[in-house]
Symmetry: C2
Subunit: 494 residues, 2 copies
């Protein structure tokens, strides 16, 4: 694979300086056009040791407008990062729309290290690759332009390069004597790199192999690929071909008349006395379980979705009442801020993933994408269709990291909703809860109902199931929630 | 001081429930009004162990609209926090305008621990208190409403409370046997608390002592103080009395004709040959020094200010060229995002304070407050006048934490600027750098000049001096910058 990057390409100083002004002009103009677009540009810089990745990044930084240009290296993982799923550190450094992020190694450092470790199982390697492809696919579907550069040196070139770097007083290689010996593992490293590149070289996020022996050739080549890619990406941005939805097809809506929601028995009620007894008992358990989770460093995420006025807030409060206020955080989800809008829609939820031992309670969540955004056409059909897959992947990452995830849909009948809307209008400190929008949503009950059914069907996975709560009776709903939470935490923590 | 909080106040269950609806209605309405204001509300929850601080916060959370309500506890410092100045963790959790943040202990945990440690020197304690008062003063000047609650229990009450908590299966006190003995240090703790409260009980951020023996009295009292405070703060928000600027008065503008800027010798030039030689030599040093700083975990912050077209970008690039791209980040400062606008103006800079061993290069900075915001009247006179003091405090915190701070003003003459504007218009990849705004700013040269002079005078402190760079000759400017950086880093790191 790498033969094409060992051709001995060179650019003379003169040719370099002649070509530069035009390239810089195009780069700056491309950046300007980019700034007015919805496209984030992700540049991944990888390759063999000694290929001058740092030098290349410095060069690009010099050529371009520093506004909207960010560089990230991922060498020292912080404890805040270690306590979250692996991709959290990438999410927090993704460039915003209209800007360019140059990422050293990014999500490729890990599969490379994994392959090098020898102990990694074949399936671990494969799932790492799949995760990367899915992640990049998701970003591209969200208009991102991903450019992956692999810088190559022949074995001989690497050896001599590392030797001279080791002597250069301006080089950090002097500080890392073991890295100076990287050429000893050259063959193995290149073989592994070849595999990683091959398996992650996709149509939407292709790799570019760049011969790095001559730094002027290297820098000019990257500059030209970059400017060309931005120009053509922007030219077609609005008419971007819809990426065919290649992920495993989900089950189609069942043709049976009865839906999952229909099966929720809305008649269940709970008498006041029983309610009070059970409330106290479950709250005691939850308090203990929350402290146990804290001690065993398990984070917990609760997702509450449900009809307007289905009692989400009340159910959440009955639960959080029992938990030490220092342990949990309630995240009410409403309109995104402009920083949130400038990223993939999942970004704003990744922000709130709790640290080890802490609890996040989402009052509405990422499911807005396949509920309100779908029904109100804030998201295109392609966007919300893809969201099922993206959400499942997202939740799988949370669960695989050891986070306990509980999802509730609070179900009520249209009649019950009407009764509650009217009641809310009468209680002064509840009036704020009922708005014009609630009445509008109510008119679209059927649309929401099929969206909910599809959501529950397509995002009830083996690692993350929905709990449909019978919520016509508030007492019943609250106890069902508390009971489920207790059961779940007991299973997980024992 | 605490006698008034040992009066045995009680509220019966019936009285509590009768008073509640009105209180809740007022709270929710106050929150609504708050949402449309520029006021962030900071509630600090502190007091003796066992007073039920967690319970109180849960109660307030129940009563209010969870939107725009955040709770923060500060028990486990992360390494990302440890690597920055102490107040970084508070800055990142400050509530945004229109919202309420309930902070457990917040910046009071530390002075309390300091006093309890016995080893703390008197001056350390005093400077901790002063820092708090200055910090709170600054937030209040920025419209914040700060409410500080101290929950008190008599010695006897605490003892019995801790005992029963230790038995309560719902209490985390069971997990912390040593905390159950807190009453053994009661007298000492209360004496120390009294001092901390007394010295931080200011007109703009007063303490409220609350008797905590009866939880209904405690919760109602806090609820009422809170709603009352928000209501009256909002009522006068627009006509808020300007807090007299009480901090040490800075030197008035000197009456002498000659200013600091005048003293910059703009005639200095550097021949091409000398420039090239020195460039290479300084860049080698800087590369080494940057790695040394990394190894010794010292963060570095560079601030570049200067006239439009004074060559900031070029000087920055000559420096960053020499530094490994993984070590530094350039932060070009332009218009704030809406999340940034929703906080104190320094918040957006605190965000970018680098971790240990890393470098941040600010291309324009917090000095915008006393330059463009002053001249263009984006900030009121009171705001920019206060900013000198706030900036000095901010920088002092950075330096005290061990961060190396270098500030440059690149000085050119109006004629030189005109020449450069015209030249920029002719080079295609530089045209983007020159805008209508630059021409407008140029018309106000004199206003900017006095703003710069005042800035340099008032923010050249013993811990953070300005370097005025003679920049009519670009080569001279770049070498002056590099030389200063080398000298500075050598002094600090050797």
């Amino acid at each position: 694979m790498f033969e094409g990057a060992e051709l001995g390409h060179k650019v003379s100083k003169q040719a370099f300086e002649t070509g530069l002004p035009e390239l810089r002009t195009r780069l700056v103009l491309a950046q300007q056009a980019l700034r007015n677009s919805h496209v984030p540009v992700i540049i991944i810089i990888a390759g063999v040791d000694g290929a001058g990745k740092g030098g290349l990044v410095n060069r690009l930084t010099e050529w371009m407008d520093p506004r909207g240009l960010q560089v990230h290296a991922y060498w020292d993982e912080s404890d805040e990062e270690r306590e979250r799923p692996r991709s959290w550190r990438f999410w927090r450094t993704l460039p915003y729309r209209g800007s360019i992020g140059m990422l050293f190694g990014a999500w490729y450092n890990e599969p490379l290290a994994l392959c090098l470790s020898e102990q990694a199982s074949e399936s671990a390697v494969e799932s790492a690759m799949k995760l990367i492809n899915d992640f990049e696919c998701m970003l591209c579907e969200d208009k991102a332009l991903i450019l992956k550069f692999w810088f190559h040196l022949s074995k001989e070139d690497q050896k001599s390069r590392l030797k001279s770097l080791a002597k250069d007083p301006r080089s950090h290689w002097r500080m890392a004597p073991e890295a100076q010996k990287a050429y000893k593992h050259y063959d193995r490293f290149v073989r592994i790199a070849e595999r990683v590149i091959r398996e992650t070289d996709t149509e939407f996020a292709p790799w570019h192999l760049v011969e790095a022996a001559d730094h002027r050739f290297r820098d000019l080549t990257v500059g030209r690929i970059l400017v060309q890619a931005i120009e053509s990406h922007l030219a077609v941005e609005k008419s971007l071909p819809v990426i065919p939805f290649s992920c495993t097809q989900p089950p189609k809506n069942s043709t049976a008349r009865e839906t999952l929601l229909d099966r929720v028995d809305l008649q269940r009620i709970l008498a006041k006395k029983e309610y009070k007894e059970q409330l106290v008992s479950y709250q005691e358990q939850i308090n203990k379980l929350a402290w146990m989770a804290y001690k065993s460093k398990r984070a917990i995420i609760f997702v509450f979705e449900g009809w307007d006025a289905s009692g989400k807030g009340g159910a959440i409060r009955r639960m959080t009442q029992a938990i030490d206020a220092r342990l949990y955080r309630v995240i009410p989800v409403s309109a995104p801020t402009d920083e949130e809008r400038a990223h993939h829609y999942l970004w704003r939820f990744w922000r709130h993933i709790p640290r080890a031992g802490k609890i996040a309670v989402f009052d509405r969540s990422w499911y807005g994408r396949v509920l309100v955004e779908r029904v109100e056409s804030f998201a295109s059909e392609n966007e919300w269709q893809r969201a099922y897959f993206q959400i499942n992947e997202f939740e799988e990452q949370l669960v695989q990291h050891g986070i306990v995830l509980c999802k509730f849909w609070l179900h009520i009948s249209p009649d019950e909703q009407l009764k509650r809307f009217r009641a809310r209008e009468k209680i002064p400190y509840k009036q704020y809860k009922i708005t014009e929008e609630d009445w509008r949503n109510r008119d679209r009950w059927d649309d929401y109902e099929s969206a909910v059914n599809e959501m529950v069907t397509r995002t009830s996975t083996e690692f993350s199931k929905w709990t449909l709560v019978s919520a016509n009776d508030k007492r019943n709903a609250r106890i069902e929630v508390l009971k489920t939470v207790c059961k779940r935490l007991e299973t997980v923590l024992s």
